[in-house]
Amino acid sequence: MHKSFISQNPSVLWFLAALSLFTLTVVLLSEATGTAMISTSFVKTLGKTLCLCLVAIAMDVVWGYCGILSLGHFAFFGIGGYAIGMWLMYARTETIVLDSLSGQVIPPTPQEVSDAIGNQIFGVVGSSEFPLIWAFADSLFLQLLMVVLVPGLLALVFGWLAFRSRVTGVYLSILTQAMTLALSLYLFQNDSGLRGNNGLSGLQNIPGFEQTPQAIISIVFFVASAVALAAGYVFFAWVVSGKMGSVIKGIRDNEARVRFLGYHVETYKLFVFTITAVVSAIAGALYYPQAGIINPGEIAPIASIYLAVWVAIGGRGRLYGAAIGAVFVSLLSSWFTGGGAPDINLGFYTIQWTDWWLVLLGVSFVAVTLFFPKGIGGLFDYLVRKP
């Protein structure tokens, strides 16, 4: 059966081969191996891009295959980041606090340690108490569980409510956008327990590996992101290629028909919505230790919209299309906004890309929607089938 899965999906093999080659190249050229042709910060950018590919693939499954234009998957991505960020921040602060308290003659009580950590973490929002949601922050294992459980449960409850009442199409998109907005507004509050708009920071420092240089850490996360992307790709390719794929594509194309064939459409949507939410959260949990900081702005509805933009430009309904879209648009975006692109002098006006990139993105997005609904991936299909 597995053989037939691969043979039916040659794109999986191609994708895995390309990804392995890319990973190997980056590792060999990184500072970690001493060749240093790729800087550590660029390794981090590439690692983050791989995570974005993973969330884009999840988005493609829920939107491109199942037809649910969710504007909430980047929120799940952010929740994953917050969940792992809580542990990173707690554990690192604990190390620092224990270090500073160890100089004292009288050993600290557990209460003193916890107060000092609370003060360090929540001082910026004028608090020192640990909110309830930090109850598990001291345990890596439990917090990793939270990465999966919190977005999973949120998606399950939200999806159950929405699908049950047959909210579909643009209504559902708007509802998911509202969910995202509510979540980011909540996190913006100082008393949300997650440091308000300061967010969580210092996440690039991995507790227990203080002595390890960032060059090594960045490569480890890069490889981990690549492995996660590969696993996610194979998993989703497996999901969408079999009969499950038939059913969810059927739901996309004609929900009523699938229902009258005897499938409980809501359960399937809920399954796809939740499983992609969990994968998005895992991608987020890998992304934010590389980014180093997470704040509520990351979760704002516009982020989820950009996610849809990547997938649309890359090409919906084909997993590699989503990955290509994420790589292409996010790298292009950082090239343009980072001042990498040369200004264009029109004589009477100089186009500075830091100002005009979003205009270009918006317009090209409209163009893609109008003229190339299959995106870049569609171009691939065309080239592959032509011979």
Binding site: M1, S4, V239, G242, K243, M244, S246, V247, K249, G250, D253, N254, A256, R257, V258, R259, F260, L261, G262, Y263, H264, V265, T267, Y268, F271
Partner: protein, 249 residues
């Protein structure tokens, strides 16, 4: 004769408009039945009620030997109870192949985990091929459904219903837009299907109904106006007045 489906005293109102008015109608096992009636007679709403898409205001819909009420069930549950429905417009999954379309419809466990771990078996393949043979699409199994002709899509949809192995098939205007040969073939498929299950055909086209050669029910303003053979109902004066007379005028 034990009834497969008993609809009794059903009424439904949309914004003050009574689409179905105290409708009672029964279907027996392995029966072929045609339902005719002018526009707005409630034919499609009747199907919506039986398949769970619309909940009636009053009345009962009783199904099978165990006398299950269909009113409390969802569309997918009703479908699994053994009621298949064909829409007026051909609704097949155009992005998928004929084989995939049929495979999705095949009688198999419908839960997501069963579907996720579903394995292709020789038995299923044989069933798919048998149905494809029956609807004349055996040579098109690997084709994408969107490439099929209008008539072929209609047959594929009927094939999907057969693959569901329903006990009652509701077919809405299967002959619309078909050529004469295609109609003949459709008639054959439906008559053959009706040997082992109940088939209810909603149709406008009198020629097609005549070719089906079965019991006919005339609906008018949401209630049964007449029932019997085609010759019987076409000679009924009230039917002529409300439908045929107007239709042929």
């Amino acid at each position: 004769m034990a009834m497969l489906l008993e609809v009794s005293g059903v009424s439904v109102t949309f914004d003050g408009f009574r689409a179905i008015n105290n409708l009672s109608i029964n279907f027996a096992e392995a029966e072929l039945r045609a339902i005719i009636g002018p526009n707005g007679a409630g034919k499609t709403t009747f199907m919506d009620i039986v398949t769970g898409k619309t909940k009636p205001d009053t009345g009962k819909v009783i199904w099978g030997e165990k006398n299950i009420s269909l009113l409390g069930l969802s569309e997918s549950q009703i479908a699994r109870e053994g009621i298949g429905r064909k829409f007026q417009k051909p609704t097949v999954f155009e992005a998928q192949t004929v084989r995939q379309n049929l495979a999705m419809a095949l009688e198999n466990p419908r839960g997501p985990f069963a579907v996720l771990t579903h394995k292709k078996t020789a038995r299923n393949a044989a069933r798919i091929e048998a149905i494809a043979e029956e609807i004349g699409l055996i040579d098109s199994l690997t084709r994408v459904a969107g490439e099929l002709s209008h008539g072929q899509k209609q047959w594929l949809e009927i094939g999907m219903l057969l693959a569901q192995e329903p006990r009652l098939l509701l077919v809405d205007e299967p002959a619309a837009g078909m050529t004469v040969e295609e109609r003949e073939k459709t008639t054959d498929i439906l008559r053959k299907a009706a040997k082992t299950r109940a088939v209810v055909v909603v149709e406008h086209d009198m020629e097609f109904v005549r070719r089906l050669d079965c019991k006919v029910t005339v609906l008018h303003e949401g209630a049964v106006l007449a029932e019997g053979s085609l010759d019987h109902v076409t000679s009924d004066q009230t039917v002529i007045d409300v439908y045929l007379g107007r239709g042929h005028a």
